[in-house]
Amino acid sequence: MSARRLRRALPAAIPLAFLAVFFAYPVTAIVLRGLRPGGAWDLGAFGEVLTDPSLRRVLWFTVWQAAASTVLTVVVGLPAAYCFARFDFAGKRLLWAALIVPFVLPTVVVGAAFLSLVGPRSPVGVDLQGTVWAILLAHVFFNYAVVVRTVGGLWMHLDPHLEEAARVLGASRWQSFWRVTWPLLRPAMAASSSVVFLFSFTSFGVVLILGGARYRTVEVEIYTQTARLLNLDTAAVLALVQLVAVVVVLAAYARYQERRALSQQLRPAEETARRLSGWRDRLLLGANLGVIALLLAAPLAVLVGRSLSTPAGWGFEAYRALGSSRRGSVLFVPPLEAVRNSVLFAGAATLIAVLVGTLASFAIADSGGREARHARWIDTALMIPLGTSAVTVGFGFLIALDEPPLDLRDSVLLIPIAHALVAVPFVIRLLVPALRSIDPELRDAAAVLGASPARVWREIDLPLVGRALLAGAGFAFAVSLGEFGATVFLARSEWPTLPLAIYRFLGQPGPLNFAQAAALSTILMGLTVAAMLLIERVRVARIGEF
């Protein structure tokens, strides 16, 4: 192996090792647990799970609700993507930035918010708790930004002259959309709908809180089987089924991208947007702003309102109570300690995710030509933890890392590592495009001017992706703050995190418990939004993938 190849292999080795130890190994443990329950291969458990009528209902529900959530999100999100791509209106930039907030909000906060708005104590008198509609609405809330920002982000860079050319050639409005714009948007559509499908497919916190006893996804079922029924073998088979499904979706998507790779001439967004003209434009924009207000803003507003409501009107009672450990409370420690724990865990997770993600991104972006295929598969491999769902990760850690050779059961590090595993794909998604967009000639120019390879990296690569790196760090921080699925397996009762504390409070009766859940949710939302604001401030203007 030449020095050059070695230099290329090194950045790939560390992330792959990380993936092997903290993902492949736990997942293997799940597989073995499911397929060799007694030390010998036995597919019986598989058959039992797949023929059990109640588990089959869970599987079927998981698939159809994910499909329904995806379709619904696309239907609601596409018109908004158009508005953001083609209209100029006051506050557009701010709103575009704010859209990301629901996407990064912790699932338990979303659950709490929808419980406040359309739960038993709904201010509008609509109680959807325990119905599938609450779940679908929450999924649309969550993923709206994925569709709008991915599709809209591409759309705003499409040359309007293309559609105009089609119109001049005799195509109707609809034909020019269907025959010209739609095919060009397809890569972004495919990317965003596969993300939405995967997120809905592996939805955990939202379904756990809103689904009641009737609706459970595979993810929730794994948790129930493990934590409540202690049925580890059944849980392992379910995790395996889910893993296969996720890999199939990701592989299909990777293949699609490979076939569809289409380079097009992109225009700066400022050149493609126009002012509103006529009632059609106004109506369309008005309707979409209405959707945003009702779907995205209302639940959060009601949630904050809930945290401030006391039996005697408005006040900070729920917040004040967070500082002390109430008698009969669900936590062993004062709830405010959960805030501190979460911030510490998130800091550590961000560090790990940025380190691993940066190395992986360099490995992926560095390979061109024949290695491009290769890189796409590394890319996909590192996406798997994102799609595989946190519960599988947490469950895997639980059964694999609690005995030699790796006994980390008592290690506090387990939580940030699990969080980092979930956050790494985000760092990569932000960093790889930034690295790829660096004109290779800049590196050549620096070398000709006398910069050594290390110097080129420091003087050219790092400054040019610095902002994307910061954004990745912000994302990792937000993801870790809100992580619930893995944490619920791993957190010990003396180390609760914010989402965990919120979940515990939500499970308790009484208005004060709910108000405290709302108060903690508001704090968590504030922290997440602060991290996201930082991202938007430093965000490089470019064609984004989220």
């Binding site: 004109d439 000639e441 800049l442 050549d444 120019a445 620096a446 070398a447 000709v448 001017l449 006398g450 910069a451 050594s452 390879p453 110097r455 003087e459 050219i460 400054p463 040019l464």
Partner: protein, 341 residues
Amino acid sequence: MLEVEHLVVGVDGRRILDGVSLRVGAGEVLGVLGPSGSGKTTLLRAVAGLVRCEQGRVLIDGRDVTEVPTHRREVGLMFQDYALFPHLDVAGNVAFGLRVRGASRDEQRARVEEVLELVGLRGYGARAVSSLSGGERQRVALARALAPAPRVLMLDEPLGALDRALRERLLVELQELFATLGLTVVYVTHDQDEALTLSDALVLLREGRVVRRGSPAELRAHPGDVWSARFLGFTNVLEVEVRADSVLLAGEVLARTAGALPSGRCWVLIRPRGARLEDSAPVRGTVEGHLYAGDQLRVRVRVGEGATLDVPVGDDAAPPPGSEVGVVVEPAAVELLDRSP
């Protein structure tokens, strides 16, 4: 001084450079002229060490640098699209080569001012590169390449992206600059006027090989072969028949030469200034159209099936398209060409 010996560069099994040798003396400007895809840019990248050579050597001031990494070669390269660093301002770009070589801040500042002055961008130091016009970018790229005082300065189509008026102005400026600084320069272009204006010596590159070399005057006087003549911008490259002292086109006598040429079919170049219309001439043709070469009006005459001849005419004496004319050529205007290599 730069010497390149039998350079071979391949990419994916295809030879981009196929045994190129050339030599540029100290203070000399070598023009490398060739169509796109002829390997011009690759030649510069090979000299800079940005692509690996399969065979051959690169010597700078007598030292073999073939195995020296790019950043220690001390060459300057101005990229075709400039490759200015977007995260640095004008001064930051120009100072880059000094900074990575460890020059002190004072040295950097002084040198940056000096080169910016040289390229006519005094006071531009704090400007963002994104705020510059095409011509200004070109100057910044040039200043950046000049700042570390490279042993060899290489320019890749430096004027390619600019409009015509600006190009002509900058051409004169570059010429002055090269002369004042006494730089050793390799200048790559596909534009024959640029190459002929700037260079002390020229090489013609075709499909990775040098097909012709010489001074601009030599190449104008004797373009050599059919491909080179056409590429240097000569029209009236024709296949004719020679019989004793006569040059025949479409079976009729086009010119009588002073000395005897070898008989048979061959390719010649007819210099337009030696051609004229004459009613009684035996070679007959049809006027296809009018065109200007500089301020001189010419008519394009089609003779027989394949051949066209551009013939200068007075502004008020141009026969209209479609009319039949006769053409004669002075003996001195006929230049014998080799078949293309």
